[in-house]
Amino acid sequence: MSRGLRLSALVMGDAQADRIVPPTGFTARLTLFAAGAMAFLTVFALALSLASGRLATRWGDELAQSSTLRISAPAEQKEAQTAAALAVLDSTPGIASARALSPDEQAALLAPWFGADLPIDTLPIPQLIEIVETEEGYDAAGLRLRLQAEVPAAVLDDHTRWRRPLERAASRLRLLGWVSILLIGGATAAMITLAANAALAANSQVISVLRLIGAQDDYIASAFVRRFTLRALTGALAGTVLGALAIFLLPSAQEEGGFLTGLGFEGAGWVSLILIPGLAAVVAYFATRAAARKTLSELT
């Protein structure tokens, strides 16, 4: 049978052929439950992967081309040190622009911790200078030496110290998400294979009768394959809907919530969910087909 015909037979089915294998409650329930539970877990693993990916990209994009210079000097020297630092930065290759943050901007940065009414002008808060790098970037070690000599109160923070581990952690988290999806796929295949083997063993008399009357192995296998594929598709569909609902009902992403409330799908990410039932059906198709062929080849 050609691949096209096989696929159409799988989708359209054959009412009479479907009746040949008696309905077996145990394996039907096992397959439905396994596919549903695995699809539910896959939704979460996928959400984790996609959220980690977004996080890694955001951290990379937002922080990759920027640095901060902190001037911690006594109030009467702060302005002069700031001007000296800006002069150094202006003449440093690899720096596209540098500007001192206004008191309002600094107050806004501190607001999440101290509230909006902070009297910033009465506190010894260091002056922050935002540095935007060019594509090539600057020599951080060289700049630090120059600042040490010319602006002793300046401390350069190029973000790499904490950005890289965070990016690495996010990437690892994303990788773990994908590995989880692969493991879930493997476990689904294993469970469906076990259920299919149980169904094949329970129906040895059916197989023996079909062999006696001239049924080809493909025909016998397809009766089991179609049944298990449809069960996996149904179970996975239910599991995916429940998983998507659970993700949808999570608290919405907020700055304060950080990573946890950002766990979910955005835009096209939701579309990727429709692949889960299809993939479960594909896994079930190949797992049952392999189990059926192995069993049939071992029977005389």
Partner: protein, 225 residues
């Protein structure tokens, strides 16, 4: 059609059959007899390719069984109707669907299936039992249903292994009549039985060759039958 060329078959370290040669001519009628355990069922299985001989060759419709693929075997079985003593059915399907199974698995259309089936069930006297499930059938009804299933594809050959083993004398005569009718339609018939009375009664209706398995060999039975 079916040719056994100097075959032997061993099982569990012992030789069950040896030096067996037989050619079933089209339209012939054969009985195979022998004591229980002599290898009649093994012989029948060798005849339709369910077993492969340990020595010698079996040719089914010109093809060597050893060289046949699994699909070839399946296609060949559609040309050989088989009736077993413990005629197996799919217990969850009604009789009409069980009898029609060979048509279902070969993909024949349902209209053809419907007309063949009705005629056939009437012929074996089970027209009124078409909706019954196999466990609801008597031994004789099961045997007749198995015969109907074996011939629904119009096979050239019908092999029946102890078809009257579980039925009374009257029913065994009815089954024999059906097999004789099939032979008159040109089918080749081979019946394995230990019931010598059945063979004797058949001689009044059909010219049959009687074969006997004795001491692992196949012999032509003599006039003592």
């Amino acid at each position: 059609m079916i040719e056994l060329d100097n075959i032997a078959y061993s099982y569990g370290g012992g030789e069950l059959l040896s030096d067996v040669t037989l050619k079933l001519a089209p339209g012939s009628f054969h009985f195979l007899t022998g004591p229980s355990g002599s290898g009649k069922t093994t012989f029948m299985k060798l005849c339709y390719g369910a077993l492969t001989p340990t020595a010698g060759h079996v040719h089914l419709f010109g093809k060597n069984v050893r060289e046949m693929s699994r699909d070839d075997h399946a296609m060949t079985r559609r040309q050989i109707g088989v009736v077993h003593q413990d005629c197996q059915f799919l217990d969850h399907l009604p009789l009409r669907e069980n009898v029609a199974l060979p048509l279902t698995v070969s993909g024949r259309d349902s209209l053809e299936q419907h007309s063949n089936l009705k005629e056939l069930l009437t012929w074996v006297g089970l027209g009124h039992r078409a909706g019954a499930l196999p466990p609801e059938l008597s031994g004789g009804e099961r045997q007749r249903a198995a015969l109907a299933r074996a011939v629904i594809m119009s096979p050239e050959i019908v092999l029946a292994d102890e078809p009257t083993g579980n039925v009374d004398w009257e029913m065994s005569q009815r089954l024999l009549q059906l097999l004789v009718e099939l032979n008159r339609m040109g089918k080749t018939i081979l019946i394995a039985t230990h019931d010598l009375n059945l063979i004797r009664s058949a001689k009044h209706h059909v010219q049959a060759r009687v074969l006997r398995i004795s001491g692992r060999k196949l012999q032509l039975a003599g006039a003592d039958l």
